[in-house]
Amino acid sequence: MTENSERRVVSVIVRNEASVLSRITDLFSGRGYNITSLTVAPIPESRYSRLTIVTSGSVRVIEQITKQLHKLIPVLRVYEHADLVEKEMAMVKFPITENLSDISTLCEAYNGKIVNVGENIIIAMVADEPKRIDNFLAVIKRYNPKEIVRSGSVALER
């Protein structure tokens, strides 16, 4: 594919049943599509779950991804988002010896705070747009983060 590759967020509504997640991930690996991140959780009071998949590909590839996803039997709906609100969460473990007020202030700027304090470490969390999470993680490097976990994106159409 020589066409330009672009980042896309796709939401998939699937029936809660055995191996439905494998069907989705097998489709991506089998057809050579990318998964940047994937989140999944049940939709309250329904027999469905919602997956949010961040992927990338040319326009043609993205179109195929949505069509192939829709072809899977347990898939109810596929949204290829154009206008959306997208958020991601990250948690970071810092040594308690770092400058805690700096870290706390930074977290606040990214909709977060220090959520746990232990004898030797603290855990901070932030929730923001994935690009801003990238920024945050770049900025906090100087405070010697010990461990970082990102949740992957969730998204809703505006």
């Binding site: 179109e63 347990p74 898939v75």
Partner: protein, 565 residues
């Protein structure tokens, strides 16, 4: 009614109208086989390999239009069947394949003959199920048959643990399916159809591009009608052979890698491709960027994912091709067939320039002659299956097909060993026709154990082995593209095919001349038992014309005018 899971399988198959099941028993599926022993609602045909069971079910399905059913055990039984599942998936053949599994309590323990069957079949089936409770079995089997046959058809795999087949539960098959997430779109959008008709009426050089989906949708006769009403020339894919009768004056021929010059030129010169149930496979299009370069594209397909997958469709129409063609016929008056007079002439000039033909040889029978000769002798009275390779292409090129479901071949996956078991399935679905399998000296050995099934179940398939002592198609590519380095394709060391057939109780013929061939075929048809007719053919014959892999359709290697012997 309180019955076991195994009995539920039997009851469901009978309720679905299944008359023939192909299979092979084993430990995990024994409860079901015990019930098969006790019933007389359908016939079970014991193949001698699980792969053959699935191919036979495919042949049965293709010939009859019904869902084919195969049954196998867990572990190796299942893995042997995977090639058949993949083959059916590629060619959109509706199957329900039922496999045994180790008991629920042993799943995940690396038990004897345990394999993650649904994990393996996920990527080569339309859908699959692991049944964890016999209460679910009636619904799952009903869904399986519905999903296999509806929309774009395909194989559905149902994996049943041994303890589930023993579990006793209430059985009720008269249930409403609740498939909120699966609703195939069968009716074409009227506005799109109207636009498509308009585009056709304005086109100067339109071409129908007919695909195998027409046969799956039982739409061949409606398509014939549409082609004749519009007067637009048509090309067929390999999978669509028989949609138009071979002598139809609007049929240009088969297109693609080994299609006719005229078909490929028409496709290159057209200004509007009308694709019906075809999927723009790479063996059809050649180099994509050069395919129908200056043409608009109308694409009718039941599978939205097939549309604009490889070639952008200007007029996408998602729907069952039969429905859409019927809708198009209603508006066909808006198309004036005189409009395409000069285009039809251009197309027939292409054909006169380089007709599809071959050169006879005085010493050795040419393989193409054999195909043509069978066509002359049996014609409409035979159903034709093939294995995979040169003989397969020659069958597609030279057999005079007259009807849909006459030609059964492994098009998408290209499975050697498909032809013989598929032909047995064809014979069991369509016993009144002679079942011919064109095969090669390579392919036939990949499922020759089925001689035993054919003898036992009296399925008199006539296997015509075009023997060139080569793995011919690979040899052809080696000759043309690998500087004649015939790596591992020389099959000079061979069994005695006559004795091989006889060893199983079939009949064998070795043929060196045309007279011998005629006599052998006549005898085999009369004897009505499974036969091998080994025809010693010209060793180095190539399938021509040919679009080299990745080349453009208009750039074909053509048959040399006078062949050097």
């Amino acid at each position: 009614m309180q019955i076991s899971g195994a009995q539920m399988v039997i009851e469901a198959l009978i309720a679905e109208g299944v008359t023939t099941v192909f299979g092979y028993p084993g430990g995990a599926i024994m409860n079901v086989y015990d019930e098969i022993y006790k019933q007389d609602g359908f016939e079970h045909i014991l193949t001698r390999h699980e792969q053959a069971a699935v191919h036979a079910a495919e042949g049965y399905s293709k010939a009859s239009g019904k869902v084919g059913v195969a049954m196998i055990t867990s572990g190796p039984g299942f893995t042997n069947a995977v090639t058949g599942l993949a083959d059916a998936y590629m060619d959109s053949i509706p199957l329900v394949v039922i496999s045994g599994q180790v008991p629920m309590s042993l799943i995940g323990t690396d038990a004897f003959q345990e394999i993650d069957a649904v994990g393996i079949s996920r990527s080569c089936t339309k859908h699959n199920y692991l049944v964890t409770d016999a209460k679910d079995l009636p619904r799952i089997l009903k869904e399986a048959f519905y999903i296999a046959a509806s929309g774009r058809p395909g194989p559905v795999h149902v994996d049943i643990p041994k303890d589930v087949t023993a579990q006793i539960e209430e059985f009720n098959y008269d249930i409403e399916l609740d498939l909120e997430t699966y609703k195939p779109h069968v009716k074409g959008n009227p506005r799109q159809i109207k636009k498509a008709i308009e585009a056709i009426s304005k086109a100067k050089r339109p071409v129908f591009y007919l695909g195998g989906g027409i046969i799956n949708a039982n739409a061949a006769y409606e398509v014939r009608d549409l082609v004749h009403r519009t007067g637009i020339p048509a090309v067929e894919t390999f999978m669509a052979r028989g949609v138009l009768p071979h002598d139809d004056e609007l049929l240009i021929g088969m297109l693609g890698m080994h299609g006719s010059y005229a078909s490929n030129m028409a496709m290159s010169e057209t200004d509007l491709v009308i694709a019906l149930g075809a999927r723009f496979d790479d063996r059809v299009t050649g180099k994509l960027s050069e395919f129908a370069k200056n043409a608009g594209v109308i694409h009718v397909d039941i599978d939205p994912a097939s549309i604009s997958k490889l070639v952008n469709a200007d007029f996408p129409i998602v729907g069952d091709v039969k429905n859409v063609v019927v809708d198009m016929l209603e508006q066909a008056d808006r198309i004036n067939s005189n409009h395409y007079e000069s285009w039809r002439e251009t197309v027939s000039n292409f054909d006169e320039l380089h007709p599809l033909t071959f050169h006879e040889d005085s010493d050795r029978i040419k393989p193409q002659w054999v195909v043509k000769r069978v066509g002359e002798l049996l014609g409409d009275n035979a159903n034709i299956s093939t294995d995979v390779g040169q003989h397969q292409m020659w069958a597609g090129q030279f057999y005079p097909f007259t009807r849909p479901r006459q030609f059964i071949s492994s098009g998408g996956l290209g499975t050697m060993g498909f032809g013989f078991p598929a032909a047995m399935g064809v014979k069991s679905a369509s016993p009144e026709k002679t079942s011919i399998n064109f095969t090669g000296d390579g392919s036939i050995l990949m499922n020759c154990q089925e001689l035993m099934t054919a003898v036992e179940k009296k399925l008199p398939v006539i296997n015509i082995i075009l023997n060139n002592n080569y793995l011919g198609m690979v040899r052809q590519w080696q000759t043309l593209f690998y500087d004649k380095r015939h790596s591992e394709t020389d099959l000079s060391v061979q069994p005695d095919f006559v004795k091989l057939a006889e060893a199983f109780g079939g009949i064998g013929y070795r043929v060196n001349t045309k007279e011998e061939f005629d006599a052998a075929l006549k005898d085999a048809v009369e004897k009505d038992i499974v036969a091998f007719i080994e025809v010693i053919v010209h060793r180095l014959e190539n399938v021509m014309p040919m679009v080299p892999s990745g080349g453009s359709l208009f750039n074909m290697m053509l048959l040399e005018k006078k062949e050097t012997k």
